[in-house]
């Protein structure tokens, strides 16, 4: 599917929790192309500082309403400029980019026995909502395990609940849910004899921990990776990660996070560094 370039109009911008924003664009052609887990490039201003576009996951899209929604954390100057955009303003965006999550219909596992589990760390919850929508449509809303430093980092939970997703929380300071890491939530999971299918996005340390857990239990696991990006199109080779390979006598190659990912099977990724 070819990405498209858009001068998209901002419909809505809201600060959900301190420094966490949700922005909605009117972008009908784009909304029609989106797949859960893909991302877009957002050019935050017309000047050359900051120079590069910011990659942001597609949080939600509505092909009927023609809208695309992002959920983002204001961490630096690019996201700070984005946070100042008012409804009615236009922002240059392009996408959808990358390969998203493997969807229910594409699973080669017997669908009846599957239990999708979304594991989010902080803003990592962003690309998981549209995935949960897809599972919910096939009658398997699944479980969201959501972790963060504190309650103020946990967002968009109601949207998951509205889909019928069971939401379980963990915060490092205990301000919401279990006090501790999100991995601890696996101890009491009601699997009901189903095969968990892990989908995870968040800080690298968390992804690695979830990957190891999945490996140990023999559960399929997908991770959405982040790397510093320029083009987002597979052209500049800034954004690579090590991926297992067996071609030409190599044990690994550098895969492009922007086009080979951002979603990978966790067991393909080489986690050693």
């Amino acid at each position: 599917m070819q990405p498209i370039l858009y001068h998209a109009t901002v419909l809505e911008q809201e600060e959900l929790k301190p420094a966490i924003f949700r922005i909605r664009f009117m972008a009908p052609e784009l909304a029609r192309l989106c797949q859960p887990g893909q991302f877009i490039q957002v050019r935050v201003n017309a000047m050359v500082d900051p120079l590069l576009p910011r990659p942001i996951s597609i949080h939600d899209f509505d092909s009927e309403a023609g809208t695309v929604t992002l959920l983002y954390h204001r961490v630096g100057k690019g996201t700070a400029i984005l946070a100042q955009c008012q409804p009615g303003e236009q922002v240059m965006i392009w996408g959808p980019l990358g390969r998203g999550w493997t969807l229910p219909e594409a699973q080669d596992l017997p669908a009846g026995d599957l239990l999708p589990i979304y594991v989010a760390g902080g803003i990592g919850v962003a690309p998981l909502l549209s995935l949960a929508k897809a599972w919910s449509k096939v009658g398997k809303p699944g479980i969201l395990l959501c972790g963060g430093r504190c309650e103020e980092q946990l967002v968009a939970l109601e949207e998951f609940q509205a889909l019928g997703v069971d939401v379980d929380l963990a915060t490092e300071d205990g301000s919401a849910g279990h006090c501790g890491r999100v991995t601890a939530l696996f101890d009491h999971l009601p699997l009901l004899g189903k095969m968990p299918l892990l989908y995870t996005c968040g800080p690298k340390g968390m992804l690695k921990a979830i990957h190891e857990l999945a490996l140990q239990k023999g559960w399929p696991c997908q991770v959405s990776l982040e790397e510093r990006m320029c083009c987002g199109l597979g052209a500049c080779l800034s954004c690579v990660c090590k991926r297992e390979a067996s071609q030409e006598g190599k044990t690994w190659t550098h895969a492009k996070v922007c086009t080979d990912g951002p979603v990978f099977w966790s067991k393909e990724v080489i986690w050693d560094d």
Binding site: Q2, P3, I4, L5, R43, V48, D49, P50, L51, L52, P53, M92, W94, E227, R228, M229, C230, C231, L233, G234, A235, C236, L237, S238, C239, V240, C241, E248, K250, W252, T253, H254, T259, D273
Partner: protein
């Protein structure tokens, strides 16, 4: 309509707009945004004799009006390029320029011979300036005699136009240009990236895994433009492929007026994926407005004053 045709050392181009090696992948990556047939030429990512995996990450850091990269020439090897990528580029009809890097003189010779034998490639851009590869890179690009040796070696192995791409990290760019032109370079490409770095103050270490990286983007434009001007003044007959921070049509025209016959769009592709086309259309509009009949008339125009 202005005649935008230019000739870059034997390579006929329908217009002066090309892509900077390493910023446009192997061409098709930008096809969703750019009608590739409209480009004057496509310069592809730097290739080497063997496939390379490049450097560790982080490979990129943003800087004021610029960026640092230390990709380290990740590429599928010249063979991989010819087999996997070239066939899809062929039907476009747009001239394809392949950028090459070698660890040794002999590798440059081999690369040139392989490209010479390959019909679908129109010209060779010799990268003697990539600052990221530990072996060879730096020396070939900063010592005039070594740059000349590389050029001679390439020249001996191909009849195709040879464009030598110089490093800006030298005291006297004209000396480098003269050295390679004397031994048969058909054109000079200017500039590759400036060597730079950035530090993560939280972690107290360099931002790039490779420590140093190449600076590109609008930040470097004044330096690039100066080098194009100097080389054109020293060697007015030698065609120059100008680049370094070109983001708008006006930037491109500055380079042409400084003495560039053609220009390459690099980092700007990341900022605006249809930058090449916007720049091409902007050049057309400028020429129309200023009543320019042939673009060639503008080449070096800033020198006459």
């Amino acid at each position: 309509m202005t005649d935008l045709k230019v000739n870059l050392g034997g390579l006929a181009m329908q217009n002066p707009v090309t892509t900077a090696s390493g910023t446009f992948g192997f061409g098709l990556e930008y096809a969703p945004f750019v009608d590739l047939r409209r480009l004057g030429a496509i310069v592809v990512k730097g290739t080497t004799l063997e496939p390379r995996e490049g450097n560790a990450t982080p490979r990129m850091a943003e800087t004021p009006a610029g960026m640092l990269n230390a990709i380290g020439l990740q590429n599928p090897g010249i063979d991989g390029f010819i087999k996997q990528h070239l066939p899809a580029l062929q039907p476009l009809g747009t001239p394809i320029i392949v950028n090459i890097s070698g660890n040794t003189l002999e590798e440059y010779g081999q690369l040139a011979a392989m490209i010479d034998a390959c019909e679908g490639i129109s010209a060779i851009e010799v990268n003697i300036s990539c600052p990221n590869v530990k072996q060879g890179g730096i020396q070939f690009g900063t010592v005039p005699t070594m740059a000349a040796d590389v050029t001679k070696m390439v020249r001996e192995h191909t009849k195709k136009p040879v464009i030598v791409k110089l490093s800006p990290n030298v005291t006297d760019i004209t000396e480098m240009a003269k050295a390679v032109v004397d031994v048969g370079a058909d054109a000079i490409a200017l500039i590759n990236t400036l060597l730079g770095m950035a530090i993560d103050t939280k972690q107290r270490k360099p931002q790039l895994a490779n420590i140093f990286g190449g600076l590109s983007g609008p930040a470097v434009k004044p330096v690039a433009l100066r080098m194009v001007y100097q080389v054109h003044r020293a060697l007015p007959a030698v065609p120059i492929l100008g680049m370094g921070g070109i983001t708008t049509a006006e930037d491109a025209i500055e380079f042409i007026m400084a003495g560039a016959t053609a220009i390459a769009v690099g980092t700007a592709n990341f900022v605006n994926p249809k930058a090449t086309i916007d720049i091409l259309e902007g050049i057309e509009a400028f020429c129309l407005q200023e009543g320019i009949n042939t673009l060639q008339d503008l080449v070096g125009a800033a020198h006459s004053s």
